[in-house]
C-alpha cells in the first residue's frame, strides 16, 4: 500500500525526522491561505501515486500566496499518467545546498533490511544505480540486532557526508529505521534529504510503501489508503477476495494459481500479438473456488467492455474439474455472457468436467485440451469478431 508524499512526511515527523511544515490543500483558496500564513516562497506539489510528477508539471514553485493560488488552480484536477490530482501539498520553500538520497528497503536476495544512501540525491535511484552504482553506499541491517551506531558512522563516512552533518544524519537514519520497522514498510525513502544554506538537514520529499500482508496490524495506516486511483473492477474484486488486475487486451482470463494465471496471459499474447490481441486481465480464482466465486469473477471480467472472449484455464490438483465445470455452468446461467468462452480443464477429474461442459450444449462454449489449443482458440474467437 502506497502512502502519498504528505502522508509519508507526516509519518516521518512522528519519528523525529525534520520535514518542511507544509499543509494539504484540496482547493486553490486553501492553497492561498496556507501560503499566506507560511509567508515567502512555497512549493505546490500534486499528491498522486505515480512517479515523474515534476516533469508532468505537477510541482511548481510559487513566490507568493497569489502565485500559490494560481498554480494550485492549474495543478488540481490535472491528469498525471491517468490519475486525477485531488490534493496538493503546500510546503514552505527551502534554500538547498546539497541533495542526498536515503532509503531503507527489504533486500530480497539477502533477506535483510538494506540501507541505501548517496550524496547524489534528487534523481531517480534506479537511474543513478544504472549510471553510477559506485555512488550508492549499501549496508544491511541484522534483523535481530537492529541498526548499530558503528553502521551509521560507516555510512556517513563512506558516502562522504560533511562531518558537521553526522549527528543530524544519524538521528534521521535512526528515525527512518524505526519508521520502517514500526510501519511494516517495504520501502521508506527520503529523496531528496537536503542540506539547506543554514546547514540544516530536511526531508523534502518522502515515499513510504507498506507491506500489504502486514496491514492487519497497522490499523492507523490502513485508514490512510487512497483508493481513488483504483479501477472500479479491481475494487470489486478485492472485496470479493479475488486477485484481479485490469489490462488492455481483449481476452478475459480466469485461472487458478498466480503463476499459471500469468502464464495464461502470456500464451494469449504469444498467439495473438501479431494481430494486436492480448490478455484483458490477470485473475487468480485461487484453490477450491465455489460456483459463487466463479460467477463473481466472470461478472468482473465481463464488466470490461474490451473483452471479446473469455479463457478459462483450470489445472485441477486438489481442485476437482467436475466441480469447477458445475461452477462455470452456474456462473454462465447467472451471468449469460454474450462473448465466446474457451474452457480448458486439465488434471483431477478433467474427463468428467469436460463431459459436463459438452453435455450442456451451449453454443458459444468452446472446449480445448491443452493450454496451447485453448489460447489459440481464444485468439481465433476474438479475430472472428473483427
Amino acid at each position: 500500500m502506497k502512502l502519498h508524499e504528505y502522508q509519508s512526511k507526516f509519518l516521518f515527523r512522528e519519528f523525529g525526522i525534520p520535514v518542511p511544515l507544509g499543509k494539504v490543500a484540496a482547493t486553490a483558496e486553501q492553497a492561498f491561505e496556507i501560503a499566506s500564513s507560511s509567508g515567502g516562497v512555497v512549493v505546490i506539489k500534486a499528491q498522486v501515486h505515480v512517479g515523474g510528477r515534476g516533469k508532468a508539471g505537477g510541482v511548481k514553485v510559487a513566490r507568493n500566496a497569489a502565485e500559490a493560488r494560481q498554480y494550485a488552480q492549474e495543478i488540481l484536477g490535472m491528469d498525471i499518467k491517468g490519475l486525477r490530482v485531488d490534493k496538493v501539498l503546500v510546503d514552505p520553500g527551502a534554500d538547498i545546498k546539497q541533495e542526498i538520497y536515503l532509503a531503507i528497503t527489504n533486500d530480497r536476495s539477502a533477506g535483510k533490511p538494506l540501507i541505501m544512501t548517496s550524496m547524489e540525491g534528487g534523481m531517480d535511484i534506479e537511474e543513478l544505480n544504472r549510471q553510477r552504482p559506485e555512488a550508492i553506499v549499501r549496508e544491511h541491517i541484522d534483523p535481530f540486532a537492529g541498526l548499530q551506531d558503528f553502521q551509521m558512522t560507516y555510512i556517513a563516512s563512506a558516502m562522504g557526508l560533511p562531518r558537521a552533518q553526522w549527528r543530524g544524519f544519524g538521528k534521521i537514519l535512526r528515525g527512518l529505521y524505526q519508521c520502517y520497522c514500526e510501519s511494516d514498510a517495504e520501502l521508506a525513502e527520503i529523496n531528496p534529504l537536503v542540506i539547506t544554506a543554514e546547514g540544516v538537514l530536511l526531508a523534502v520529499d518522502g515515499k513510504v510503501i507498506i507491506d500489504e500482508n502486514a496491514l492487519f496490524r497497522q490499523p492507523a495506516l490502513v485508514e490512510r489508503r487512497d483508493t481513488s486511483g483504483e479501477p472500479e473492477s479491481e475494487r470489486l474484486a478485492r472485496e470479493a477476495g479475488i486477485t484481479y488486475i485490469k489490462l488492455e487486451g481483449q481476452i478475459g482470463c480466469m485461472v487458478n494459481g498466480a503463476g499459471l494465471a500469468m502464464t495464461t496471459m502470456d500464451m494469449t499474447k504469444l498467439y495473438g500479438d501479431a494481430d494486436g490481441i492480448g490478455p484483458a486481465n490477470f485473475l487468480d480464482i485461487g484453490g477450491g473456488a465455489t460456483p459463487e466465486q466463479v460467477a463473481a469473477a466472470l461478472r468482473i471480467i465481463l464488466s470490461d467492455s474490451n473483452v471479446k472472449s473469455v479463457l478459462f484455464n483450470i489445472f485441477g490438483g486438489i481442485t476437482r474439474c467436475d466441480e469447477v465445470a458445475n461452477g462455470i455452468l452456474t456462473a454462465y446461467n447467472e451471468v449469460e455472457p454474450s462473448v465466446p468462452m474457451v474452457i480448458r480443464l486439465q488434471g483431477t477429474n478433467a474427463a468428467a468436467g469436460n463431459r459436463i461442459i459438452s453435455e450442456a450444449r451451449i453454443p458459444n462454449l468452446i472446449s480445448a485440451d491443452t493450454l496451447t489449443e485453448a489460447a489459440q482458440r481464444a485468439v481465433a474467437a476474438v479475430k472472428e469478431q473483427a
Binding site: 527489504n106 536476495s109 533477506g111 534506479e126 541484522d142 500489504e212 498466480a258 503463476g259 504469444l270 490438483g317
Partner: protein
Amino acid sequence: MSILIDQSAKVLVQGITGRQGGFHAKLMLEYGTDVVGGVTPGKGGEWFEGKPVFDTMRSAVETTNADVSLVTVPARFAADAVMEAADAGIRLVICLTEHIPVADMMRTLEFCRRRATRLIGPNCPGVMTPGQAKVGIIPAMVAMPGNVGVVSKSGTLTYEVGFAMKNAGIGISTIVGIGGDPVIGTTFVEVLEMFENDPETEKVALLGEIGGSAEIVAADYIKNAMTKPVAAFIAGRSAPPGKRMGHAGAIVDGGEGSAEEKIQALEVAGARVAANPEEIPGLLA
C-alpha cells in the same frame, strides 16, 4: 536418490487438526509419506488418523524423532511455527502459508540460519519425490518417478509442467516449490546446486517468473557451475511494470525483474528457454 526428502523422511504437520492441515496430512499418508504426528497447541494428547498430536514441537520431536516439518498454520502464527520447528532441531521446514509479513519472514529466516535449519517457502506448494514421499499439497497425479529435477516459484504452473512431462513419458527425481514471496528460505541457486550434486538427477526444469533477481543469479550459477542441462520457462512476459501479479514477489519494479532480462540471462547461460510451458517436455527429451 533424490534431494531434500525420500521415503526415510519422518514428517510432522504443524496445524494437523486444522482443515487444510488435516486434509493434506491425509493425502500425504495415502501417498506413502511417513507422517509421524502433528502439533496443535492445546490439542496435545489427541489422535489424527492414528498419529499422535502434540502441544509443542519440542515434545513432538523428542517422541517421534521427526526430521521434517510442514507448516500449515495461518499467516499470523506461521513465523512463530517455523521458528518453533527450527528451535526443536528440525532439519527441513516446509512452509505453505501465504501472506506472512516480510518483516516476520526476515527474522524467521535469520533464526533458521543460526540453527542450520533449511526453510522452503513460504507461500509454496511443498516438495515431492515421486514414488517416495510428498510434503505439501502437490497432487500425486502430476508426476512419475524419473530423473528430471523440477524447481519452481509457483504451484499450478508446476503441476501443469509436471503433468505434460508425465504425458510425454518423462519422470521427475524431486519437485521443489520454492514459493512466490519476496523473501524465501531456499533460492533457485541452492536447489540447482542440490540437483547438480544428486546422482539420480540428469536434467533440470526451472520455472521462474517476473520480480526480483533470483533467476538472474540462477543463470550465473548455470553458466559457471552446472554441468547438467537446464530447460526453463519464465512467466509474466505480458505483465505490465509496477503491478503485483498475485504473488507478493511478482512485480517488475524500477525496470528490474522483467521476464525479458531473465530469459536473456538464462539463454546466455546455455539454458533452453520455452516460450510456452507445454514445450518443456520437448526441450528435456
